[in-house]
Amino acid sequence: MRIKADTDVCIGAGMCVFTAGDVFDQDEDEGTVVVLLPEPPPDRHAAVRRALQVCPSGALSISEDE
């Protein structure tokens, strides 16, 4: 799994950090998403999918090529 984040779309609501704080963080100045683990380990995949689901702006996407 590979995570893509579009910081132009992100509105800094922090739902990704709230849901998977070990995978996502927020930029200090703009509050936009920073991906800490662009290729998260399998045990985090469920949390990442949840984060994608709750992100209000659609800034996050994943590609599943193994």
Partner: protein, 398 residues
């Protein structure tokens, strides 16, 4: 195709049970989660009651949140609409204006920054509990606990002297009371703008370590805009969490099994907060969006210029999204509820609100193991006439 089978409904405001949304919603949601609605000014638009369709509308950039193009869902909202037009009130603007403000503020409300505030919020919470103890039972939980905590926190964050909080607490509730005349509401708004205008001017001369000073320092907003945005945050920071804390406590006291579960295991606080947010949905009258072009949703066409009222309370009780939605279950995974909205306008202060509640409920329950309502539950007056739902007063004893 056409909606001939659905006569336009009006937005229901009367609740049959104080903690449940009006019953019509459930029927309508099952039958047509998006249906024609008659707005207060005679406009025929739409009402969204389903979870999926509500989320779709709120996330779709083809819908505008500009206050100038949305229709008021209920008569009392006409007043609020006319007041929501001032520089810096970015909640009711569209990109790129909205983005310009939001970008300058999001950095101040990140999850990490909010966590840094935790010790401060804990201290504020404990001080309030001490004061309650000194005062002795019964106390009004709204005045002694629910309102001062978020009020102190947002004042600190914005750099507003707390000694002035009485004034905008009065103004902000006058603004949000839907029964007030438009003159009274306008007066309150002027008073708020006046006060904050003075504050911004002072901070321009003597900057502090606070959000307003920080906004001034960016050099990217005018004082008028900073004033508007600060009033928005001040009002939003006052009324929302305060009502969640009070109404949430009331709800727990009326659901003893859930209360006992949270008391026994404070680590449930995080999921309890999410569930209370979902179950109570205190933003119970809106939001409204207007299509900027024809939009096809749920097999219906929303025409350009038509408004959609999204019932967040109905969406959060959609059985298609949350199993057994009408029961309160603090152990469920309620994240994904729409109580903070969805899309680009989703609440900026949500992570702060979460922390205030995650600290507030368990601390209150731990300090007063015998906490109970001091008047019969049915006699507690609900804020049906307010833009934000809740209780007016909550007498408690222990």
């Amino acid at each position: 195709m056409t909606n001939a089978m659905h006569e336009p409904v009006t937005f229901p405001v009367t609740r049959e049970h104080p903690l449940d949304p009006p019953q019509d919603f459930a029927r309508w949601r099952e039958d047509a989660p998006l249906r024609p609605m008659l707005f207060a000014d005679g406009h025929v638009g739409w009402l969204a009651t389903g979870y999926a369709v509500s989320r779709a509308v709120l996330a779709d950039p083809r819908f505008s949140n500009d206050v100038q193009v949305t229709h008021p869902p209920i008569p009392q909202r006409i007043r609020q609409q006319t007041l929501a037009k001032f520089p810096g009130f970015f909640l009711r603007e569209d990109p790129p204006e909205h983005t310009r403000f939001r970008r300058l503020l999001t950095g101040q409300f990140t999850v990490r920054r909010m966590r840094l505030l935790e010790p401060r919020i804990e201290k504020i919470t404990n001080d309030r509990l001490d004061a309650m103890e000194r005062e002795g039972a019964p106390v009004d939980l709204v005045q002694s606990f629910a309102l001062p905590i978020p009020s102190l926190v947002i004042c600190e964050l914005l750099g507003v002297p707390y000694s002035d909080h009485d004034r905008f607490q009065r103004d902000s509730s006058a603004l949000l009371n839907l029964d007030n005349s438009i003159e009274r509401a306008r007066e309150a708004m002027e008073s708020l703008l006046d006060y904050v205008r003075g504050l911004v001017a002072r901070k321009r001369d003597e900057p502090g370590d606070d959000l307003i000073s920080g906004l001034i320092a960016t050099g990217r907003l005018t004082d008028v805009e900073i004033t508007g945005a600060s009033v928005l945050m001040l009002v939003a920071g006052h009324e929302t969490t305060a009502n969640m804390l009070a109404l949430g406590t009331y709800t727990l006291l009326r659901n003893p099994a859930q209360l006992a579960a949270l008391r026994a295991d404070p680590s449930l606080a995080e999921s309890a907060v999410e569930e209370l947010l979902r179950y109570l949905t205190i933003v119970h009258l809106g939001p409204v969006r207007t299509a900027t072009e024809d939009v096809e949703i749920e097999g219906q066409t929303i025409r350009a210029g038509q408004s959609v009222t999204v019932s967040l309370s109905a969406a959060n009780r959609d059985p298609g999204r949350f199993g057994d939605p009408d029961s309160l279950d603090i152990t469920r995974q309620a994240t994904g509820h729409l109580s903070f909205g969805h899309g680009i306008h989703q609440c900026l202060g949500q992570q702060l609100a979460r922390i205030e509640m995650r600290i507030g409920y368990p601390a209150l329950l731990a300090r007063f193991p015998g906490l109970r309502l001091a008047t019969p539950g049915e006699e507690v007056a609900m804020r049906s006439n307010m833009a934000i739902y809740g209780v007016h007063r909550l007498p408690v004893a222990w």
